[in-house]
């Protein structure tokens, strides 16, 4: 993280260490590919193993502006360390540049994040839903998506147990 700050000072918005000792860097969205490329190609760092991508909807947290946080995990086989990056995007314009040209493994994780949070990845070659079907409306992991909201493709049969069974909202 010190090297990133030294090399690309304008890219890093914030840095902190969480309670468990993990070092985090909050990156400005537009400089994400630059930071990732530096982490991957720097001969002393070599964060080449692609971990994962996910997002956090901070709607109910104390600090919730901007609303979404996209988190990135990379791993260095040379230093045996994880690196944790964060990009914060607003609800009005949830767009992050894609990492697919740099890491082919990012392809499916970005689709997953798009599927569940509605965050768009600028420049992604094939941004479509991955787990849910195309007809699905909304993004189910957003905190304002109701837990028992159902969107069946085939109408479900009504059953007697209104609280636990399929086909009911649980509210009636």
């Amino acid at each position: 993280m010190d090297r990133v700050s030294a090399q690309l000072p304008e890219a890093v918005a914030d840095r902190y260490v969480d309670r468990t000792g993990g070092a985090w860097a909050v990156i400005h969205a537009d400089s994400l590919p630059k930071v990732a490329a530096f982490l991957k190609n720097d001969p002393e760092l070599e964060f080449k193993l692609f971990g994962s991508i996910d997002a956090v909807d901070r709607l109910h947290l104390a600090e919730n502006d901007p609303r979404f946080e996209v988190v990135y995990f990379l791993y260095s086989l040379k230093r045996h360390e994880h690196v944790r990056l964060k990009v914060r995007v607003s609800e009005a314009n949830p767009v992050v540049p894609t990492l697919v040209p740099l890491f082919r493994g990012a392809n499916w994780w970005e689709r997953l994040t798009f599927d569940f949070y509605g965050i768009r990845f600028d420049g992604h070659p094939d941004l479509r839903r991955i787990l849910l079907y195309d007809e699905f409306e909304g993004h189910p992991l957003r905190k304002d998506y109701a837990l028992r909201d159902r969107q069946p493709l085939i109408p479900e049969r009504p059953i007697k147990d209104i609280f636990r069974g399929p086909g009911t909202s649980g509210l009636s």
Partner: protein
């Protein structure tokens, strides 16, 4: 054409019967799209593979997942931390204990909790038991789908023996929900260690027999060697971990590089492959099973006596006599069951080595009894994402061994 045929009657048993150029001729085909799955026996879960074929060559392949999707994250965000355990079981139903313990490890790290030594040993033993069952299923199924039923039966026999031991330990064969935040919910049963030693003896004999049937088998070697090849650079870029990465020759195992629990006390090796093909992945899994047996034996011989769960009523349920006899016991029991463990606000990313690779958990807590966010980095997700890269341009028949040896698990991929 006709003038090239010999005047004497051709012998239909030799190639001379057909013209040389006819043997090499391109088969007249048109491009065809076939669906493999969603519930094809060779896909180990419900995955639909949209395969575009040119003859027998795969031109394009698009894996479509999500048929099993049951909202793992959303479910976890609406129950207490302890109640997430049964959900984590179902991520990988063949090595449920590793998912349990990986999740608990991340939660404990978030709390800042050190679990008792005996509980750490129990976790190592449980993990290695389920690493064995997972690899056995994978290797056995690989043999089965290459046409060998006997190796599959041998693997299943060993697996059944291990499942019996698992059932004695946890009360369940597949979905164990074993372990609690702060330690373990039960101790090892009486006489269990001796029985596991005996099972491992029997199992090693079964393993040897299975290996004898597969490793030098002409059909098996021909179909797995040199197929499904991925280079080390590509594997790293895709995010491969576990046996699939180690088959490429990359030495990365979290048990060695960043030991958790008591793994650093045991003597074991990390097997590595060279070519990154299906055969190497099979060999790596086979050797890992032997190493797991080594770890199990050492762990069971050196397990210390002591408590199995932390003595903190804010995290672990109080002992039953306290619950029935004291008001403090009743209160903490109720608070733990109704409100859940109050995990301090914060975030953590923690990974353990599951049977298929790095099982990472990114947890966010807002300080209440329920997780705010549970992200699971399933090891099967990247290996499946790379299947189009591996298999495009290869034969349809290569898809089956590739799909076997990467060991994609539907449950964790589709969350």
């Amino acid at each position: 054409m006709a003038d090239t045929l010999k005047p004497e009657a051709p012998n239909p048993d030799t190639d001379a019967y057909a013209h040389e150029s006819e043997l090499e001729a391109h088969l007249q085909t048109k491009r065809m799209v076939i669906n493999m799955g969603p519930s094809h026996p060779a896909t180990h879960g419900t995955v639909r593979l949209k395969v575009e074929l040119e003859g027998e060559t795969i031109v394009k392949i698009d894996p479509e997942i999500g048929f099993l999707h049951r909202g793992f994250q959303k479910s976890c965000e609406n129950v207490t931390w302890t109640q997430c355990l049964p959900y984590t079981d179902r991520l990988n139903y063949l090595s449920a204990m590793m998912n349990n313990f990986g999740f608990l490890n991340a939660v404990e790290k978030l709390i800042g909790l050190e679990i008792p030594e005996r509980a750490q040993y129990i976790r190592v033993i449980g993990s290695e038991l389920h690493r064995l069952t997972d690899h056995l299923t994978c290797v056995g199924a690989t043999g089965l789908e290459m046409g060998g039923f006997a190796p599959f039966l041998l693997a299943m026999e060993f697996r059944e023996l291990l499942h019996d031991r698992t059932a004695e330990l946890t009360g369940a064969r597949l979905t164990t929900s074993f372990g609690r935040v702060g330690g373990s919910n039960r101790d090892l049963p009486e006489g269990w260690v001796a029985r596991v030693h005996k099972t491992l003896d029997q199992g090693l004999a079964l393993l040897d027999e299975m290996e004898g049937l597969l490793t030098n088998n002409r059909i098996f070697v021909d179909r797995t060697k040199g197929t499904g090849v991925i280079s080390a650079e590509d594997a790293i870029e895709y995010g491969y971990t576990g046996p699939a990465l180690r088959a490429c020759g990359v030495d990365y195992d979290i048990r060695k590089t960043k030991p958790y629990w008591v793994y650093d006390r045991f003597d074991f090796d990390i097997p590595l492959g060279e070519h990154g093909d299906n055969y190497d992945r099979y060999l790596v899994r086979l050797e890992e099973m032997r190493q797991s047996i080594r770890i199990l034996r050492q762990a069971m011989d050196t397990i210390p006596a002591g408590p199995i769960i932390v003595d903190d009523w804010r995290i672990a349920l109080p002992p039953k006599p306290e619950v029935y006899g004291t008001i403090e016991g009743v209160m903490s029991h109720f608070k733990l069951v109704m409100e859940g463990i109050q995990v301090p606000a914060g975030e953590v990313y923690d990974a353990t080595e599951a049977s298929n690779g790095e099982l990472g958990w990114y947890l966010v807590s807002d300080g209440r009894g329920r997780p705010y966010k549970v992200h699971v980095r399933a090891p099967g997700f990247p290996v499946l994402a790379a299947v189009p890269h591996i298999i495009e341009g290869k034969m349809l028949a290569d898809l089956i061994p590739t799909f076997d040896t990467i060991n994609m698990i539907g449950g964790e991929v589709e969350q």
